[in-house]
Every structure is written in C-alpha cells, then in structure tokens.
C-alpha cells in the first residue's frame, strides 16, 4: 500500500507550523491549491487532493467546496478515487445537503457492480448518510442483495436494511421475511446483522414482535452452539466464542421474552447455562454475564434463575474493577423496586461505594443507597449519608440533600432526630437545598411544640457561627422571631443552658439584616422576626422600633413595605400589635406545600418558578406566611385555608373571551364602596390606580357558591403577571379554577376572569381576603382587600 506522498507532505507542513496563525496560513495556501486542482479536468492526483481536503476538514476548517468533487469522484471508474470519494461523502455530505441527492444514482449503480468491494463502498455510504428518499429508492435493491449474494455483501446489506428501517419505518415489512431466513446462515457476520435487523423490526412494531417470537428456539440453538462449542480461533476473545454475537442474541431474547411466559420458559435453561459457564475473569466474560443478568431480570424467569442473577450482581459489587462495580449498581438500581430484599443484602457494600474516589461510582452508590433506606436501617444509613454529604462532589450535593430530606420525612424515628438531621443538612449543604425546604422545616418545627426551646437554641447557635447559608438563616430567623422568649428564658431540658440576653438576639438579627451575604428574602425574614420580638421581649422595644423605622427608607421595595407596615403597627395600631404578632398556630399538614384548592392540584412549590417567570420577587412561602400574618386581626380565630392560583401550568393564554358572556352581564364598572348586602349580583370590590376588580356570585347549591372575579385595567399601560390569591375562614372550602389569563391590556381592552368555587357547609359568616399582585411599567404592585359579605340571593 503506497501512502499518499502529497498528503503526508501537507500533514507534515501543517504540523510543523509553530503558531495557530502560521497553521492557518499553510492551510489557506493548500486549500487554494486544492481548489485550483478541482477546477482542472481529469488529473492523476484527484484522490490525493480530496484526501488533503478531508484532513483539513478534520482540523476544523471549512471544506464545503469539496462536496461536488466527492460527487464526481464517486462516479469515477477507478476504485482508488471511488474509495476516497465515498469517504468524502460520508464526512462532508449529510442528508441535509442538496449534493447528497446527486450521489443516489452512483450508489444505485455501484450496488450492482461486479466487484464486491465497490458494492461494499456503496452499502457503507448508504448506511451512514442515506436520507429517507434515498432509502425508499434503494430498498428493493438492498432486499435483493440480502437474499442472493455472498456473505460479505449479505452482512453489509443487513446493516443497511437496519438503517433503512430506522429512517422509513414502513419498509420494515419488506425486510421481515428475509430477516427470518437469514437466521439459518452460518457466517457470524451475517448472523449478527440478522439479529440486529430483527431487534430493530421488533422494536418498531408489536405485531412483528409477535411473529418473531417463533424464532426463540432457533436463537437458543445458536447461543447453545456458541457457549458449548470448543475453541474457535476465528471468533475467540479471551476464551469466549464471539461475545459480540452472544450479547446481541441475549438482547433479542430479552425483547422476545418480556411479558411472555412461553418464550421465557424456552430460554430458561440456556440462560442458566450461560450464567454458570461463562468465565468471569476478563471484561469480555463479564460483558456477557451482564447482558445475561439484564435479560433474566427483565423476562418472566423462574425464581431460582432470578436469585442466580442477583448473586452475580453481588459478585460484581465486590469486583476490584471499578467499571464492574458501576455496572452492578446500575443494574441493582433497576431491580431495587421489585427485588428489594435481595438488594438489601448488599447494602453494606453499596454504602462502602459511597466512599469511592470515582464520581460516577459515587453517583450510582448515592442513588442506590437512597433507594435502600428503610425504617429499620434509617439511623445507620443517615449517618453514612450525612458523612457523604459533607465530602461529596458539588454536582451531587443537591441530589443528596433532597434524597436525605425525603428519607428523613418518611422514616424519622423521632421528631428531634428529624429536626437535627435537617439542621445538619442545612449547615453542610444549605446552599444546595430546594426552596421548599424552608417552609417544610418551619411547618415541622411549629408542629413539634415540645421541642421549640431546643430548636430555637440550636438554631441560634448555628446562626452565631455562620450566616452564609441562606436556608439555615431563614429558618433560624423565623424561629427566633417566634420563640425568642424561650431563648431569653435560658432554661432548656434538651441542651445545656446558655445565657442569652435580649440584646444578643437583636444583635444577631441585625447582623443578618446588614450583612451583604443575606439575600433579600433572608433580610425580609430577619425584619419580620425583629418585629415579632417586640411582643416577646420586654426591654428593648425601642431598639426594635428604631430598627424598623430605619428600614422604612430602604431601597429594597419589599423590605421598605414591610418596615412601613410595621411602623404603622407601632404608631396607629399599637392596640392590635399583640394580636397580630402572636404565636403562630399549628399549621395543618395537608400536602407538602400545604395548599388547598390549587387549580391544577399542584403544590405551592410549583408556584415559585411560576412567580419568577412573571418577574415577581417574593418568595412563595413568604406570601403564604404573610397572608397568615395579616389575617390575625379579626375576632374569629381564622385558620385560613390558602389557595394560590398557578398560572403557567396552562399554556400562556392570551386574554381570552372565555368570560366574555359574563363580562356583558356585569355591565359598567362604577366605583362603589363595599356594599354590605346588595341585591345586585355583582359588586366592585377593588378599585385603585386604574385596576378594577369586580365580584359576582351565583348560588350553586345549599352550601355552594360560585364566585367570579373579573379584573380590568383602565390605565394606559400594560399590566402583566396579574395574579389573585384568596383566603377564607376555617370551615369553608375553597377551590380556585384557572384564570383566563394573566395580562391586562390598557384601556379596558380585555379582562381577566377568575372563578372560585366556595363550599360553606357549616354556614359560617362568609368572608374572603384577596391579595392582588401585578406588574405595571416594570414595578410590582401588591394589594390586599377583604370582602366581609357576599351578595347573595
């Protein structure tokens, strides 16, 4: 074989270039020469020129001007030119280029060439870049070659057929009968191609799969031949006879035996034989064993065989080779749901793999460990998992943290343990936890009333140490705000008593408020906590007052609003302050996000991304908590059930005319004060800054009421992100349907409607508090209204 001298000289020249710039210069010169050569008529060095161009292409430089040359070379009668031409076609052309169609004819001709190596070039190129049209065109030709040619061509035609079937599924019917007959061939290459083709056909069409089930005995026969045959020099790899074919047949058997008793029975013996006889000292043997195990676990195998398979995986887990351990864990992951006990036996080894150096192995071990946590092993597993969390690679931290939380929630042996675990996670990986952890933890703490003292002490100490982990700081602030009095009292059964003065607490909170590490949400928490302490502690109320008034001119809108409200609470509503800031009631545990009546049934945690999309800066949990806060003022101990509307789950609905009919009925929207009891079915409940909200009711049943809220915008700016949240008294059930949209175009062009279904079985005095949020001219507006009576008939 004579190497292409001009090509090698060019490669040498390019490699000797010392800088990128020099290399570009050499390549530009070469490309210019190549282009000139292409334009010349037939000359001897054509294949060398194209080869040079392909080299340049591999370095990353543009080579599209060679496409036509490929087409010409493919049509050449010379084998050397055809060879490079087809290589060029595979590298430079793909089905998206127009030039690829031009080679269809050449391929067609070459498929029936007298020389099998030319045929092979055509087949290879077709299988590599044949487009759907080319495939449809040439499929009959491929079928002919599949049936009547030598084994060299047959094996290539089989893989070509696979490509065709992948591109044009209908042509599967054309190849099915031929594929079946190919299984009788002796040549391994053809057999392999046939098995791949049958696998592809079965994968696409269930009817074909049913028909091919009849081939199971033949496949079993072939496998047996491979497994028990003696040494065959042509196909032997480290003592295994043709492992590639074995693995392929096992995969096909898996597809055929899935969900089918008869087929699974027929292959039982064979699988047992392969599993026991295959030598597992080298990777090859393990590859075959691995495939066997996957097949056994996927078909309806008998229990003895399943046990054998799991044992093989257990052996893999103890293998020195990291790859084998990785494979074992991947497979165990698949069966941990169905064969849980069998996998539990290997828990020790799996947990050890958490300490492996390799990141891939660590990831697999983490997933598997989390799946193996149960009520009996929770304490020991959690120790290991927490240890892992402190040293795990950053990309696994979030997954590990959320896994730990789930496990802790399901199997916590005691409340204190649960809280400790969560705190531990927050201190080690606080930055990587999901956002709903904070409200979840707060709920947990509130519900564990006997541990309030312990918790607040622990959190206070954690806060003193480190204020960079936002989730931890938020929870700590909230707790200090709620239970600050317990902190000052100093006595606590669970931990050593520590003397904490009121000033210390306020110092801690102020540090959080002023630190540049604190996010706006965290600062909001800290400010509210400071405010709450004004009722819990006795001496430093003035200090609190001054802190709060400072923030009345803060740049952050949210903080400013809160500070102003709290200031008002000090000045005008001081009589209400105690009631407003009293201890939080126990939050009813409904669902992870404790929502009730979300329109699409999704919990609050889904709300966060929705709000962010609409440009709302508030934390969803804060809104929930704030509504709780603000509802404290009335005589009835309102246990509000909160509903929030999620807008995005439905695709962005432009202001539709879904409520169009209702709008007509509502007529004009005159500004009327909140009417007490009007006979009119609609009333305006809110009108400010051009935004108007009206309400109309319709009695559905004895206790049911359908309320329709309609919003409109009479300003001349567009309003976006319009959302409504509602709260009702304790015994009333609330269900909010999806709103018609979330944007209000200016000048009353269109309206947004929201339907709310209320059920008042105890016939309490019906009230509703509605919070309106929207964005106008780039700034967010928030307002709350209370509806004390509904117009009813």
């Amino acid at each position: 074989m004579s190497p292409s001298v001009p090509l090698q000289e060019m490669i040498r020249a390019i490699r000797s270039a010392r800088t990128q710039c020099e290399e570009r210069g050499v390549i530009q010169r070469e490309c210019a020469a190549i282009r000139a050569q292409f334009r010349q008529a037939d000359n001897g060095g054509r294949s060398h020129n194209l080869a040079k161009l392909l080299y340049v292409h591999m370095l990353g430089y543009p080579a599209h001007f060679g496409q036509m040359e490929c087409v010409r070379m493919i049509a050449s009668p010379r084998y050397s030119e055809k060879r490079v031409g087809y290589l060029g076609a595979m590298m430079l052309l793909d089905e998206k280029q127009d030039a690829s169609l031009l080679i269809t004819n050449s391929i067609k001709n070459d498929l029936s060439h007298s020389n099998q190596y030319v045929q092979s070039l055509a087949l290879c190129t077709l299988a590599c870049m044949g487009s759907a049209e080319m495939c449809r065109d040439l499929a009959p030709e491929i079928d002919r070659l599949l049936r009547a040619s030598n084994s060299y061509i047959k094996k290539k035609a089989a893989l070509c057929a696979v490509h065709i079937v992948r591109k044009v599924q209908d042509l599967g019917e054309l190849f099915a009968p031929t594929a079946r007959s190919l299984l009788a061939e002796k040549n391994h290459g053809v057999l392999h191609g046939a098995v791949v083709l049958i696998t592809e056909l079965c994968g696409q069409n269930t009817e074909t799969l049913e028909k091919f089930r009849k081939t199971v005995p033949d496949l079993v026969q072939i496998m047996k031949g491979l497994v028990i045959s003696g040494y065959s020099p042509e196909h032997d790899v480290a003592g295994i006879s043709d492992p590639f074919l074995q693995v392929r047949i096992l995969r096909l058997l898996r597809i055929l035996g899935r969900n089918n008793e008869a087929a699974s029975d027929a292959m039982n013996d064979l699988l047992a034989q392969v599993a026991t006889n295959t030598d597992s000292t080298k990777t090859v043997g393990n590859a075959v064993l691995y495939e066997t195990v996957l097949t056994v676990l996927d078909i309806k195998s008998e229990s003895g065989l399943r046990v054998l398979a799991v044992n093989i995986l257990g052996r893999f887990l103890l293998n020195n080779d990291r790859n084998i351990r990785y494979i074992a864990m991947t497979s165990l992951q698949k069966i941990v749901g169905t064969d849980h006990n069998a996998v539990q036996r290997h828990r020790g080894t799996i947990v050890d793999c958490l300490k492996d150096q390799d990141a891939s192995v660590k990831r697999r071990a983490l997933e598997l460990s989390l799946a193996l946590v149960s009520a009996t092993n929770i304490r020991s597993m959690m120790k290991e998992l927490l240890l892992f969390l402190s040293s795990c690679p950053p990309e696994l931290k979030a997954e590990a943290a959320s896994g730990i939380f789930n496990a802790a929630e399901r199997y916590a042996p005691s409340q204190r343990w649960h809280i400790d675990t969560i705190l531990h996670v927050l201190t080690t990986a606080g930055g990587d936890v999901r956002d709903e952890t904070v409200p979840n933890l707060i709920q947990l703490i509130t519900n564990t009333s006997e541990l309030h003292c312990y918790t607040v002490h622990k959190l206070y100490r954690a806060l003193l140490k480190d204020i960079s982990q936002q989730s931890l700081v938020q929870v700590a602030c909230w707790c200090i705000g709620e239970y600050g009095d317990l902190l000052v009292k100093g006595e606590c059964q669970e931990t050593e008593p520590v003397q904490v003065s009121e000033d210390d607490i306020l110092d801690a909170l102020e540090t959080v408020l002023q630190s540049h590490m604190s996010s706006p949400t965290t600062r909001g928490f800290a400010l509210t906590a400071t405010m709450k302490l004004s009722t819990r502690i006795t001496d430093n109320v003035d200090r609190i007052r001054s802190v709060v008034s400072i923030y009345g001119s803060c740049i952050d809108v949210e903080l400013q609003q809160r500070a102003v409200e709290y200031n008002a609470l000090f000045k005008k509503y001081d009589h209400m302050r105690a009631a407003v800031l009293e201890r939080m009631p126990v939050i009813e545990k409904n669902s992870p996000g404790h929502t009730n009546g979300v329109s699409t049934g999704e919990p609050v945690k889904e709300l966060k991304p929705v709000q962010v999309k609409q440009g709302e800066p508030q934390h969803a949990a804060n809104q929930v908590c704030d509504l709780l806060d603000l509802l404290g003022g009335s005589e009835e101990p309102q246990q509000p059930q909160l509903a929030a509307c999620s807008v995005v789950p439905a695709p962005p609905i432009s202001t539709s005319t879904a409520g169009g009919d209702l709008l007509d009925l509502l007529g004009g929207l005159e500004p009327t004060p909140l009417p007490l009891l009007t006979p009119a079915p609609t009333m305006t409940v809110y009108e400010k800054d051009g935004v108007t909200l009206t309400l109309s009711c319709e009695k559905q049943s004895d206790s049911g009421l359908m309320v329709t809220l309609t919003a409109s915008n009479s300003t001349d700016s567009n309003i976006s992100g319009f959302t409504l949240q509602a709260a009702v008294p304790k015994s009333v059930q609330l269900h909010m349907k999806a709103p018609s949209g979330d944007s209000l175009p200016p000048s009353d062009t269109a309206k947004v409607t929201q339907m709310v279904v209320l059920n008042n079985p105890n016939k309490v005095n019906l009230k509703m508090r509605i919070r309106i949020c929207y964005t106008i001219r780039g700034s967010t507006v928030q307002d709350t209204i209370q509806i004390d009576s509904f117009p009813t008939h």
Partner: protein, 156 residues
C-alpha cells in the same frame, strides 16, 4: 446503536471522528468540545463510563490517544469497551505496533478499517481475520488501480 466515535490526543486535538447519525457542523463541533473537556478532566484510574445528556459515554486511553464512544442507553457498556479494544487491535495489526502518528498520517486508512468493522452504528463483522483480509484485498485493488493508471500514462 452507537452514536459517534471520537479519537483525540491528550491535548484535545481531534484525530478521527465518525458520526452515525446526521448532525449539523455546529452540533458536531459542540459535541467534540464537550467530549474532550469531559474526558480529559477525568482522573487516571476512574471508571470508564460517563453520562452525557441521554447517552452513555465509554472512553479508554491507549497511549497518547483517547477513544471515546457514545452509545444509546440500552447498550452494554462492557461490550462497548470491547468494541474499542477490537478497533485498536485491528489498527495494530494493520499498521504494526500502531501509534498516534500512524493515525495522523494515514487517517484515511483508519477510516477504511473502521468502515469494515462498524457500520450504521452497529458491529459489522465480529471476526478479526475477516476484517483484516477485506482491508488487504481493498488495498490491493487500489494498487492495481494505480498501476493501471500508470500504464496508461506510459502509453501517452
């Protein structure tokens, strides 16, 4: 099926690229960048399997070259390692103690060998001897061809 096979040096220079599904040039470039970064960042004795998007990446280092094979999720990773090894054996037999320079200066031969071993993302021939014999025969055909041309030239 296999999606692509890449060979690159320890400095990240690409030596061979075979794509088994159609992709735009830009996508190819991005994948090459991603693969080289991911694989070159691995520790020396780590696991040879990676996850990338919805594919499994199997890589192995032979001397100064990294062989990187991407397969779909249902493929057998251990067998993929064997596929890479088989290809290296074929190259070794052909070039005699193959090294990176052989692949650089005779890249088209490396492709021809690959095209006799794999096709359409699947294994084409499982016997080493048959692949070697096919390559030898094709080479001889190419030689005959050139000598034919040479003869033609002689006669004007």
């Amino acid at each position: 099926m296999m999606r692509f096979l890449l060979l690159f040096s320890r400095q990240g220079k690409l030596r061979l690229q075979k794509w088994f599904t159609p992709m735009s040039d830009r996508e190819k470039k991005k994948i090459i960048r991603d693969m080289t970064t991911m694989v070159l960042a691995r520790q020396p004795r780590s696991c040879n399997f990676l996850h990338w998007k919805d594919l499994k990446i199997i890589y192995k280092r032979y001397a100064s070259l990294y062989f990187c094979l991407a397969v779909e999720n249902q493929e057998n990773e251990l067998l993929a390692l064997e596929v890479i090894h088989r290809y290296v054996e074929l190259l070794d037999k052909y070039f005699g103690n193959v090294c990176e320079l052989d692949i650089i200066f005779n890249f088209e031969k490396a492709y021809f060998i690959l095209d006799e071993f794999l096709m359409g993302g699947e294994i084409q021939e499982t016997s080493k001897q048959i692949v070697n014999r096919s390559i030898e025969a094709s080479d001889m055909l190419q030689e005959d061809d050139s000598s034919e041309w040479y003869e033609v030239e002689l006669f004007g």
